[in-house]
Amino acid sequence: MSYSVTDPSLRQKWGAGILVITYALITLLPLVWIVATGFKSPADSIAYPPKIVFQPSLEGYVNLFTTQTRASEETLKALGEPTTWYDKIVRAKNMMIAGPSRFPERFFNSVIIGFGSTFFAIVLGTAAAYAFSRFRVPLKDDLLFFILSTRMMPPIAVAIPIFLMFRHLGLSDTHAGMILLYTAVNLSLSVWLINGFIDEIPIEYEEAALIDGYTRFQAFYKVVLPQAATGIASTAIFCLIFAWNEYAFAVLLTSGNAQTAPPFIPTIIGVGGQDWPAVAAGATLFLLPVMIFTILLRKHLLRGITFGAVRK
């Protein structure tokens, strides 16, 4: 039995535990459902009442990565026995594989555009934030407010001007255009967050480095950057999540060449009936990079959120 004032009582611990578990279940349920649907057969995926226990199948993943055509019996016979496991799955429904799908390409586009724009938002944001934090910038407060104000309306509100500008500049449906757009949207967030983190670092560390014979730039990357790493990492996660999940601009501005995964995945539905397992498989794979990135930076993220809350 604990008699400490600050230690929670057993009842409080149980209460907190139940609350956290309930919350986790509510948030995890859709994810679990998507992952499970990816491994169902199309029939199981639309069964009513929904099937909790089912025979796992890779059909959804095969459908995601291939394009298929219906073939006559003669054609199928002429092809001979299916040799690979995915061939067998496709042949079982009297179809044949016509070729690979465009999913890997779209996925790769998402990786380039998501990580590329995050990289630029962080590099430019760190540079700007350092300048705002350390130098006497004329109209500093007004500039910072202006930067923040770019986030005060939903970015999609300027979709039409951007669409026209991109078409005029030849940026429509290009990787560079999408990276530029997402960087621009994320920049205000990264400038503000990183500015806060750098403000928390006492200027004496840099002054000490200057005295120790280093240039200002050396002091910046050898002394300031390692200490701001926590904040920069958490900012990077926020930027990546936005760029990775962005749908509206991706639909509007990309089609053939630079299309990212979010607008592509729904198009799977249209091919030969509602293929929910393929959609779910695509969504599952789409979740992975952000999950891995977040788990890798998890320690930083937690420290980043509470950064500056307690003065040392």
């Binding site: 004496e204 560390y205 002054e207 000490a208 200057l210 005295i211 120790d212 014979g213």
Partner: protein, 365 residues
């Protein structure tokens, strides 16, 4: 090691004038104190020597070379910060070796040098520890280690003991002074603590509102303050001022305080209007046959001495007398002043008038 010369240095921050045209010299190997209340410009002056601020005008010479506009990294000086500013992402050894790597020193030499410094400071056993968990004293030692490892031309210290608790301060100030004597390095030390300044310094500059009020060895400044501000700031309790109106001329030998003739050192300059006689508490003695009298208001017992507060016709005075003299509140006592130690101040500007006793000191201040 080197001499540091400050010539007509001035610093403005926008419309605010932080340091008004200041001139003084720190001699080679001196332990030099910059003393003053907060906001007096002492830290700004130090930062200008270091290259962390650039002077608005004037020249700064280190070792004969003009460095006023040079960046800190090219001045070859070391700086000890009040909060130490140890790099939090490096361990103790790395912190100390950091200034050496900027010079491109070989790894083996760096290690030798760091070990050498660690031995001087007695911190060999914590070289591999992170700086986060260190006690205040050890942080201070690491900060000093980082400063001395490079054998710079001068050490600049910004209230280095300010972050330590009182007990440890005493110890550290002795350690610091011993380290200075051992290395013979030119040191400029900023403090607002007049006791610390007098204890440790070879020479003191007293600053106020961006102006150098006086500059000299501690005893001269204590005995012969150039201004009322210095007289007030140095010494605890501070110097007493007995205000009176009238005039003194060259050769005047005494002043009249409330009709009582009080002898002062022969004046070498005259003034008229509001004036004050300055007297240190320890230079007031009780004597029944003295004509000048004061009424006891309070007394504070300090062990070997006591501070007695008296009301006089020219204002309140504090006297430091042996603890065994018994005084009663409301008792009226005759006061005698040591004639040789008195200073007459001009009332409005507060500058000390030159006399036979202080003219030598004031001539170079």
């Amino acid at each position: 090691m080197a001499q540091i010369r400050i010539e007509n240095v001035r610093k403005d921050f926008g419309a605010f004038n932080a340091v008004k045209s200041s001139t003084f010299t720190v001699e080679d190997g001196e332990f030099f104190m910059l003393l003053g209340p907060s906001g007096c410009g002492k830290t700004t002056t130090l930062r200008m020597m270091a290259g962390l601020e650039l002077p608005t005008s004037g020249e700064i010479y280190i070792d004969g070379g003009e460095v006023g506009m040079k960046p800190a990294s090219q001045r070859d000086i070391a700086f000890v910060f009040q909060m130490f500013a140890l790099y939090p992402h490096m361990n103790v050894g790395k912190n100390i070796s950091y200034p050496l790597y900027s010079q491109g020193m070989a790894k083996a030499d760096v290690k030798k040098k760091v070990d050498e410094v660690a031995e001087i400071l007695g911190i060999q056993d914590i070289l591999n520890k992170p700086v986060g968990g260190l006690s205040g004293g050890d942080r201070q030692r690491v900060a000093l280690g980082r400063a001395i490892v490079r054998s710079p031309k001068a050490f600049l210290m910004d209230e280095p003991l300010g972050a330590l608790d009182a007990e440890f301060r005493e110890h550290m100030s002795e350690e610091l002074r011993a380290l200075h004597d051992r290395m013979g390095a030119t040191t400029v030390y900023v403090t607002h603590d007049q006791l610390e300044a007098m204890q440790m310094g070879d020479k003191i500059v007293v600053m106020n509102h961006g102006v150098v009020e006086q500059f000299g060895v501690p005893q001269e400044i204590y005995d012969w303050p150039a201004t009322k501000f210095v007289a007030n700031f140095i010494g605890s309790p501070s110097m007493n001022f007995l205000d009176f109106g009238g005039m003194v001329g060259v050769g005047t030998h005494s002043v009249a305080l409330n009709g009582v003739k009080v002898e002062v050192p022969a004046m070498r300059e005259g003034a008229k209007g509001p004036l004050s006689v300055g007297v240190r508490p320890e230079h007031i003695h009780f004597s029944d046959d003295a004509e000048y009298r004061g009424r006891v208001v309070a007394s504070e017992y300090l062990g070997t001495t006591q501070i007695v507060t008296l009301a006089t016709a020219n204002g309140e005075v504090k006297a430091r007398i042996p603890a065994n003299v018994s005084v009663r509140t409301d008792e009226t006592i005759g006061l005698k002043f040591d004639e040789r130690t008195l200073t007459v101040f001009e009332g409005a500007k507060g500058t000390a008038l030159r006399s036979v006793t202080n003219e030598k000191v004031l001539a170079h201040g």
